[in-house]
């Protein structure tokens, strides 16, 4: 069933005064001379401290959903509400910084943009990602996964209230992945997260609530196990491909 958000204002604001919500959101793309519906009348609310899992196969609309929650896209119809909660960019993003600038300058820009002390954020990212001398090298000269590490570390260092996550583990650096796993568990306690993935195990590990996104339609399930069962049914349909 799709969760109705008709009483969005009452539900969210009256209870805590803080929330992130999608309210009857529809997104369509024009692709190869036909209209593709990425999200169809999607509604749900995320409260502070809640960890929401979105299970979806490849092409189910997960990335669009996460981009909407990160305010990187606008819906065609419906609305995305961020009420008294600051939202991060998608964790593990591999874009967003300038490759022609040093890592240090990229972090300095991000700190200035969010009104934080640049030296503190630089130190925090350096400690987390362990970049050392690479901090003063051009981002474009470093491995592609460095951008994902910097974006992850900076987002954590900026203490947002809400973190949208599109898939997990964009790096093969085992030490960084271990730290990132620990950090996600820590984030679950202090912030709200929405994790969109095709891996049922990740949803079990990090989330309290689970939805299944299938062909642009979001359905809520009472338990994570029920969501996983429904997701497996959807994945078994002809033409479906498992997401990473």
């Amino acid at each position: 069933m799709t969760v109705a958000a008709d009483k969005l204002d009452d539900a969210g604001r009256a209870e805590t005064g803080r929330m992130v919500a999608l309210d009857h959101v529809t997104v369509q793309y024009y692709q190869r001379s036909r209209v593709v519906t990425a999200l169809s009348d999607v509604s749900f609310i995320v409260h502070p401290g809640q960890s929401v899992g979105i299970l979806g196969t490849k092409g189910s609309g997960k990335t669009t959903l996460i981009r909407l929650l990160a305010k990187l896209e606008q819906p065609m119809t419906g609305r995305v509400v961020h009420h008294n909660m600051t939202a991060s960019w998608p964790l593990w993003a591999r874009t967003g910084l300038i490759r022609g600038m040093t890592v240090r300058d990229n972090i300095r820009f991000t700190a200035q943009l969010y009104g934080r002390a640049a030296p503190d954020l630089i130190r925090s990212v350096d400690d987390f990602a362990g970049l050392g001398a690479s901090m003063d090298r051009l981002l474009g000269d470093l491995p592609a996964s460095t951008m994902a590490k910097v974006m992850f570390s900076a987002a954590v260092g900026l203490d947002f209230d809400f973190y949208p996550i599109d898939g997990l583990n964009a790096t093969s650096d085992l030490e960084f992945r271990r730290k990132a796993d620990e950090t996600l568990q820590m984030l679950r306690r202090r912030a709200a997260i929405v994790l969109a993935t095709g891996r049922a195990a990740a949803i079990k590990q990090y989330c309290d609530v689970a939805y299944v996104l299938h062909r642009g339609v979001l359905t809520h399930h009472d338990t994570i196990d029920k969501a996983i069962r429904y997701f497996r049914t959807c994945s078994a349909e002809p033409g479906e491909e498992a997401a990473s």
Binding site: A93, I98, M101, D105, F109, G115
Partner: protein
């Protein structure tokens, strides 16, 4: 803190951050961007000065020929480069897509500020080099010279915002703009002062505010030339209307520009 002061401080914070990023991107590694710009200006000033020297003399109406050409070139280049950079803002906006608080207007203003500051610095470096080399007297009123350069830069900034909006809607605008800039180069007093224009054409020539700025520039740089036909009020009137139309066109085209 009230909502208004909060909004202003947020806006200033975003502008500061984007200006920092644009400055870093513009200057580049090892100041390569600054050297490129300096080289480009030096070539233009040298070529035009030699041409002018060959066709007339080393002194033009009591003004040394190298600073005479340099003031005109710098005044026009600060306008042209700012306009060209700002008018392509939409094409660079993708780099900021992960930061939704950065708008096209923030990016346009930041690019303009970076270019204006860079050109004012380069201009005064060039003027200092001329003085050291003995081809120019000291600047008569440096603060006025700086102000006129900044006004010319603001022309470029606000005209650039208008053209950024127009170019998103009408593709033909960009080649037309290139032609218009070439005509402006020839008619803005880069190579001459207003009294040299045949009286018959004064009515047409004097509508161009850059011509007024260039004449005033020569007055403030040399001190011995009087820009009797130039009107600073007229130049500021143009600036006022450019700001007005820039803000209107930016607001009107914002949804389309953001989708582009």
């Amino acid at each position: 803190m009230s909502d208004v002061s909060n909004a202003i401080s947020n806006q200033l914070r975003v502008l500061k951050a984007v200006t920092f990023r644009e400055a870093k991107a513009r200057i580049g590694l090892n100041f390569l961007g600054v050297w490129t710009e300096f080289g480009r200006l030096s070539v233009a000033i040298a070529v035009f000065s030699v041409m002018r020297y060959i066709t007339s003399k080393g002194i033009h109406r009591g003004m040394e020929i190298v600073p005479f050409i340099a003031t005109g070139v710098l005044m026009f280049w600060i306008f042209r480069r700012t306009l060209m950079l700002v008018s392509t803002t939409t094409l660079s906006a993708e780099r900021y897509s992960f930061f939704p608080q950065v708008t096209i207007l923030d990016l346009a203003i930041s690019r303009g500020i970076v270019n204006i500051v860079l050109y004012v610095i380069l201009s005064f470096v060039a003027f200092a080099v001329f003085m050291i080399a003995g081809v120019s007297q000291p600047i008569y009123r440096p603060a006025y010279v700086a102000m006129l350069l900044i006004v010319s830069g603001f022309y470029g900034l606000f005209a650039g915002i208008i053209f950024n909006a127009l170019c998103t809607r009408i593709r033909l605008v960009r080649p037309v703009l290139q032609v218009a800039l070439r005509i402006l180069l020839m008619t803005s007093g880069v190579f001459f002062v207003i009294p040299e224009i045949p009286y018959l054409f004064h009515g047409f020539a004097l509508w161009n505010p850059l011509l007024h700025l260039n004449d005033l520039m020569r007055q403030e740089y040399f001190g011995k030339y009087k820009a009797e036909m130039a009107d600073f009020g007229y130049a500021m009137e143009w600036l006022f209307w450019l700001v007005f139309f820039a803000l209107v066109s930016e607001r009107a085209m914002r949804p389309r520009v953001e989708r582009a």
